[in-house]
């Protein structure tokens, strides 16, 4: 029953066999956020804000059986990553990733912070982030084009929005706020990312190195 529930409730984020996706690879005997059975059951039923939803629809019995299944995944050996993390760390600077990303307080915070990204995402997901960043743009990085009353076109990331106003950040970091009724046009570029694709800008080895580096980032603690 645990396997079936995992496949219907968790696989969407953790992969069909727990190998990871948007959520981390669970092929690890030790889980940071779920060191013991009680905390594992808690992670499952309450989730991890804001990225993992709590499985409140599962009964305590079902939670227990999913947890037991997650523990069996721990014995599947982690596939070693091909790249070299220290070369990846240098590439992160030379490829100017740090003009948009902060790691341990260094860099610029235009994109999401990557300090603990290795414990949140699988290697496959990280690869996709570099190759096709538009595949999974989080809501807080929605890109939009708007045309102001004076006719200027401005592209930016949506910082906030309500029914009457919208706040954006331009790619140069400048904040703007507009009354929606005063705009000539407001286009949400869903399926587009503020981050360029690196599919062509990185050699295959460089890609592996960067991913190995990102996967090694497990937070400040």
């Amino acid at each position: 029953m645990g396997k079936r529930l995992f496949e219907s409730q968790c696989a969407l984020c953790h992969g069909q066999t727990g190998g990871g996706g948007r959520g981390p690879n669970l092929h690890r005997p030790q889980l940071n956020k779920a060191p013991d059975d009680a905390s594992l059951r808690k992670v499952i039923s309450q989730g991890i804000q804001p990225e993992m939803p709590g499985a409140w629809q599962l009964s305590p019995r079902e939670v227990k059986s999913v947890a037991a299944y997650v523990r069996t995944l721990g014995s599947i050996p982690l596939e070693p990553l091909p790249g070299n993390p220290s070369r990846g760390e240098r590439l992160f600077k030379t490829k100017a990733c740090d003009t948009c990303h902060m790691i341990s307080g260094q860099g610029s915070g235009f994109g999401p912070e990557l300090t603990g990204i290795g414990s949140k995402r699988s290697a496959a997901f990280l690869r996709e982030s570099l190759v096709a960043p538009e595949a999974a743009v989080p809501d807080e990085f929605l890109l939009l084009d708007l045309v102001t009353a004076s006719g200027a076109t401005i592209r930016g990331v949506r910082m906030n929005e309500d029914s009457f106003s919208i706040q954006i950040k331009e790619l140069n970091g400048e904040f703007h706020s507009y009354r929606k009724a005063a705009l000539k046009d407001l286009r949400k570029l869903r399926g587009k990312s503020p981050m360029p694709s690196y599919a062509d800008a990185l050699k295959p080895e460089e890609m592996d190195d960067l991913i190995a580096y990102l996967a090694s980032l497990r937070g400040n603690s």
Binding site: S8, W56, Q57, R61, D139, L142, E161, D162, F164
Partner: protein
């Protein structure tokens, strides 16, 4: 004049002013005679949430300013206050206060601890407002007491246990006053309760009648259940109903059957879940019922404020009742008989091919929750939910805050254990920008959409319409706003800084119109 007669006159005046400061039932029945007050949940017992006040208009609404604010101890306040004779009465979970209408400063406060073993199964710890009659304020507590407070002191006159909270019963709604009685309904539809509607004697707190929403063996409607399923059949009654004084009928909405998302063990229509019931005010006897969603498996409670209005049907004036249901259909019924008059979808829905001649949904098979999940509109919170609609006799329009949300519904096993979640599944909504909302104006007799004003996300706030020609509403992102009641054009908005998840009201302070609404912890009062 002799000294003794002077004394007599003085004491008479004292008594007289004391009496006018009381809220006799006639004052509620004739609420239009005193538009400056707001004496019952929806201002009148017909469920209109419409104010005859007309000083604030499309021409001057941009001049609205905050006059005062009151901070509650608890977050996400859903209260709809009562305003009577210079005092505003507000409630929170197990608490109440009487505020000076001029300043918002409390005259008194009352509270009771929430028992440590109390749990709200399937909803938030909220209270939606008090009710008032004579010299008493009626407050329903989470742990299921109906409490009558002296309006002058906030001290308890009586307190009655409505139900045991331990199996999952709770009270979150504003009671409804009818002549001599206070009517309440219960929450608990996710805990396998058996729902009921109760009326209590306003003077003594003694129970006058109870209507079980799930008929027991031998009662009509019981055949719509099988085996023992009725015992855990749900049918909560957690939103304030309406009352027609002429017909002496109480109209009340009934919630979902239990378990919510797994109907396997309860084949049949599951009466009177997801229905509207018309009960005799004196006895609680059922006059008629209308079921919106037979055998519901999506948690589409029919718990809405029913709106009573007069409408023309095929050239004849009829007494009607309008309901914008959680299941995404709007219904106009005859309120004397329950006869279906008209109905149509007022929001996106993917589960029915419309309604048949008798108003029963023509269900599209395959939209039940499943193991793998099934995407259906609307989501479990429905196309609208507990927050109030509004009806303006001036425009003949029914205003409703609409939620456009789809969700993948999952079915799971459901084991009944008293006092625990008895749901049989759940849902995952689409989230983000795939969800949105609107204020829609419907022709009350047909449900045809006259206009819509789009909202960024699916709202949790009710609407108020006024004789000044305005409709007020609120958003999750903290906007409180006014639209033109005829066209839906946005005219004014104010950022409150907190989610608006409450119903607005209108009243006078010193003869000048004001509007009040809660946003998270803060109640704002606006005036020109």
């Amino acid at each position: 004049m002799k000294r003794s007669s002077l004394f007599l006159l003085a004491s008479f005046l004292l008594v007289a002013s004391f009496l006018t400061a009381q809220v006799r039932y006639e004052r509620i029945a004739n609420a239009d005679n005193e538009p400056g007050n707001w004496l019952t949940y929806s201002r009148n017992s017909l469920g209109h949430r419409y104010s005859p006040l007309n000083q604030i208009t499309p021409a001057n609404v941009t001049g609205l300013k905050v006059k005062w604010a009151y901070q509650f101890p608890d977050p996400r306040t859903e209260v709809s206050p009562i305003v009577a004779d210079g005092v505003m009465y507000v409630t929170g979970p197990n608490s109440a206060a009487a505020l000076d209408l001029q300043t918002g400063r409390p005259f008194w406060k009352w509270s009771r601890p929430i028992p440590p073993d109390y749990q709200s199964i399937g909803f938030g710890r909220v209270n939606r407002g008090p009710a008032i009659l004579d010299d008493k304020l009626f407050v329903a507590t989470l742990d299921c007491d109906l409490v009558a407070l002296d309006i002058k002191s906030g001290q308890e006159r009586w307190s009655t246990k409505v139900a045991d909270y331990k199996p999952g019963y709770s009270l979150t709604m504003a009671p409804l006053v009818i002549p001599g009685k206070v009517v309440v309904g219960v929450s608990g539809g996710e805990a396998g309760i058996r729902g009921f509607i109760d009326a209590y004697d306003a003077k003594t707190g003694k129970r006058a009648w109870r209507f079980w929403t799930i008929p027991g063996p031998g009662e009509p409607g019981h055949e719509s259940w099988s085996g023992d399923a009725w015992k855990t059949g749900g049918g909560s009654t957690w939103v304030t109903g309406s009352y027609d004084p002429q017909l002496n009928l109480v109209y009340w909405g009934v919630g979902n059957p239990g378990p919510d998302w797994n109907g396997d063990d309860r084949p049949g229509d599951n009466l009177y879940t997801c229905s509207l019931v018309a009960l005799e005010g004196d006895t609680g006897a059922l006059r008629w019922h209308f079921q919106f969603t037979p055998h519901d498996t999506h948690d589409w409670d029919a718990t809405h404020v029913p709106v009573l209005f007069e409408g023309e049907v095929r050239g004849k004036k009829r007494k009607l009742i309008g309901v914008a249901n959680r299941n995404a259909f709007y219904y106009a019924l005859d309120r004397e008989t329950g006869e279906f008059i008209a109905g149509r979808a007022y929001a996106k829905q993917t589960w029915a091919n419309g309604l048949d001649d008798r108003g029963r949904p023509m269900v599209i098979p395959g939209n039940e929750p499943s193991e793998e999940g099934k995407l259906v509109w609307p989501n479990l919170n429905g196309a609208t939910v507990w927050f109030s609609p509004s009806y303006s006799p001036q425009t003949g329009l029914f205003y409703v805050a609409v939620r456009e949300v789809g969700a993948t519904y999952f079915k799971r096993e459901a084991d009944f254990k008293p006092g625990t979640f008895f749901a049989g599944g759940g849902e995952q909504t689409l989230g983000g920008d795939d969800e949105w909302g609107a204020i829609r104006a419907l022709e009350a007799t047909t449900g045809r959409i006259a206009w819509e004003f789009r909202l960024k996300s699916a709202p949790w706030a009710g609407v108020l319409s006024t004789a000044g020609g305005l409709v007020f509403g609120g958003t999750n992102e903290g906007n409180f706003f006014a639209l033109d009641a005829k066209t839906g054009k946005p005219l004014w908005d104010f950022q409150t800084g907190g989610q608006v998840a409450a119903n607005p009201i209108a009243f006078n302070i010193d003869g000048r119109q004001h509007i009040a609404v809660s946003a998270n912890r803060v109640l704002y009062v606006f005036g020109l």
